[in-house]
């Protein structure tokens, strides 16, 4: 055994002895908690999606996209001919915020942008990924 191997083994034994979880071991309770975290953000996204206050003119995303239909998150990133380049979904969301909603765009990592994308993709669950599709 090399020194390195000895050290590694010692560390493993130490963790086992103190009862710390290994990286790939998590419980059903944890899975449930993470799922709840996700669904909370989905619900925040649904609130924003139906809110007359996201833009400036009282128009809500849901007016044109009930249940986020016709947003096709499974096709992004894709070439958006009107923007002349390949874009991820959040850039298209910002286009909608600026145009039909006459509002301000959101930063890519804005929690509101995360929530909107969580809601859109949740409504599209079960559909296979087809990046680039038109």
């Amino acid at each position: 055994m090399t020194t390195y191997q000895q050290t590694a083994m010692a560390l493993c034994l130490a963790f086992t002895a103190t009862g710390s979880a290994l990286a790939d071991e998590f419980s059903a309770a944890e899975v449930q908690r993470w799922q709840q975290q996700f669904m909370t953000v989905v619900a925040e996204g649904r609130e924003l999606w139906t809110s007359p206050k996201l833009g400036s003119n009282t128009v809500a995303c849901a007016q044109c996209h009930p249940n986020a239909a016709n947003t096709h998150p499974e096709t992004y990133p894709k070439f958006q001919k009107q923007l002349g380049k390949v874009v991820p979904l959040w850039e298209m969301i910002n286009w909608c915020l600026k145009n039909p909603l006459e509002g301000q765009p959101l930063a890519a990592d804005d929690p509101k942008m995360t929530a909107l994308q969580a809601y859109i993709t949740h409504e599209r669950r079960g559909v296979k990924l087809e990046p680039g599709k038109h």
Partner: protein, 358 residues
Amino acid sequence: MNSINNSRRNFIKNTGALALGATLPISLVELAFADSSENFTFAYISDAHIQHIKDNRFVRNWDRGLIRAVAETNLLTPKPDFVMFGGDLAQLGSKPELDHGAEILSALHGDVRYVMGEHDYYLDLGEYWQKLFGPQYYSFDHKGVHFVVLNSIKTFDDWTFKRWPTAEQRMLEMAGLDNPNGSPFMVGDEQRLWLKKDLDKIKKDTPVVVFSHSPLQKIYKGWNFWTEDAEQVQALLKPFNKVSVIYGHVHQIQYNQIGNISFNSVMATAWPWPYPQSYAQAEQYLPKLTVPMNRADPFFERDATGWQFINIANGNADLNFTLYDNSSRIVRYNKKLKRPEDAVYQDEKARIIPQTHY
């Protein structure tokens, strides 16, 4: 086909130097007057969703859709016998919205008749709308055709009268198309009783055209592309030889044939809606007969919106869709197969890629 050329010539002559004339897709105005003196036409504008922001501001995009439909309808030659407005003039049923919408529609030449939509109704249960436009359901006769207008967007009394603390909240709950707190549309007992009496007086070979806001057939309940007592209404229409139901609400092209009844939807002037099959979680029943409109391109503000010019040819309805940013469409009654069909795209092989919805 001569009638097309004549229409175009007359149209250009009559509109003269109007810039709009050059872009109006008038070639779709295929009139059948030569075949029968009974044939006539009317225009159909629907789902304007005039939306109040505050003070004197309204959503510009929806305003423009209605203003354009009114302007183009006024340019039609020959003049339509009358104009129908198919409901959802307002977004949240308020006086400013109904007044502003009525003001825009007041520019229409000739008679205009109105259908009630849920966005007009659920604030004050149609009270102000009635002051402006008349009764919520009625019938009239025109050139041998019996027309019936229904208020098909009513719902259970419990939902309407007991569930919501304020009228404003009731309106907001029904205004959200995909709102799980909503409630299914229905014509209801009172109107069905009235309809039965109204139709009892009509000879069974008289063509009957019914205008409703919601489809008098069941397509997708989640978005109220649905009327709860559709089958009961259809049963009242069954004894007649030629029946057409023309409805709004769905903001897309749909058509179907159930027994003796032809169903046609009309376009919205405000914005398009996805077909229900685009919602991955939905159980839906879009009629197999329907060739969908193109998937909307939001970068064209008026894409997948428009209005229509309806030709009552020998008692059947042919719909000519004027689509601002798409090729025009014609859905015409096929006398041999006894059903409405698209004039160009009905055959599977004739369809184009943008008509695929997913």
